[in-house]
Amino acid sequence: MGRRFGAESDRTVLNREQTPSTRNRSIEPQGVILRQTLAYRFKGIASAIAAGLLCAGCGFMTSPVMEPNGPITLTERDLLFKGVAIMMIVIIPVWVMAALFLWRYRGTNRSARYTPNLAYYWPVEILVWGVPAAIIVWLGIHLWHNTYKLDPYSAIDPSVEPLKVEAIAQDWKWLFIYPEQNVAAVNELVLPVNTPVSIEITSDTVMNSLLIPALAGQIYAMAGMRTELHLLADKPGKFWGRNAQFSGTGFANQQFRVIADSKEDFDAWVDKAKQSSDTLDAATYETLAKPSQKVPVTYYSGVEPDLFDKIIAKYARNDAELAPSTAQAEPAE
């Protein structure tokens, strides 16, 4: 690059409007190389994105989020797509303008207009503040409406009596208690189809998060506290749920089977669980609660009364919480 380009007098005076100077012709070979590098540059980015998305396609269709088994995940997924669509109004122009401006206003393109002091143009300011603000208002309305609709605590269909399940997170496994059916299962959640399910969740160890992607979003499980999750399976199927919040060495194994099947199959499953020899009394619960990984699916025919509340009461914070029975006597807030 030692060769000097253009004579000294050629130097154009910057602040006057740029006339196409002689510099352009004298560096023609250089321009060609530059155009190639530019083309190469865009091919590079395009190929990287394509490669990323291409291979993504193959795994995409079997994903629990793309093919949900419940209205909750379906609504949440559609809200996501709606968000992407709305945001494209702001994002696609960025890519288009970036590509256009870089190509048109690259340094070597002398025919392009060059206004070095263009620093303020009020229509652009209005557009640049106004359009995103309008989008945010629209997005905000969607957000507000859907957050209330998809609140994990709100019942899916208040008129129908939901199936009650109590989920207890333990060191690296999940225990599900069906209080009305008086059965319990470890690492397996069976649900009747088209019946709203109300899961009450707590933890007997560190903070966990109950996530069943195919059915609903996640919610945290914390010791001494009761969180709720309402979901419904509208199609029979087998899928998985797991703890999504890091909880220690056995975190990766904290996965459980979720089966949604017809009312009859559910009742058959409950009967099968009732034939199980072990019952979940305080002693068996204590041995179960010890840290263990990859625990095989086990059933318990009987469950100690109020076991869920007793687990919460273990971590009572004040006198009100100390005696759970008195706590229930108080009028529910």
Partner: protein, 106 residues
């Protein structure tokens, strides 16, 4: 502390006297209310809070010599911004924590 030039400008006894007297009064009343338990709980709490805010203003005015004219402007802006941030942080935290309490601990 108008030390615009690094030299302590006039300091007189007057502001400190006013400050200590006002502060003593604003402290004595809430203590007396608690000691006697004369008023119901809620009104006493409101009075304690109100007197605390007034006493803070007294301290700022008479001990720290904060006023709108002589204090350097950036000190005032920093104080105002700190109050806004503390309001956001403490107010937000209490709102969140008590909402969570009602959601999962009751």
């Amino acid at each position: 502390m108008e030390t615009s030039s690094g030299i302590p400008v006039e300091r007189t006894m007057r502001p400190y006297i006013i400050g200590i007297v006002a502060a003593l009064i604003l402290t004595a009343i809430p203590f007396a209310l608690v000691f006697t338990g004369a008023l119901p709980r809620e009104t006493t709490l409101v009075i304690i809070a109100a007197f605390a805010v007034v006493q803070i203003l007294v301290h700022l005015r008479f001990f720290l010599h904060i006023d709108l004219e002589s204090t350097p402007r950036e000190n005032l802006v920093a104080l105002a911004f700190a109050c806004v941030i503390i309001f956001l942080m403490v107010g937000g935290s209490l709102w969140i924590m008590f909402d969570l309490y009602h959601r999962m601990m009751v």
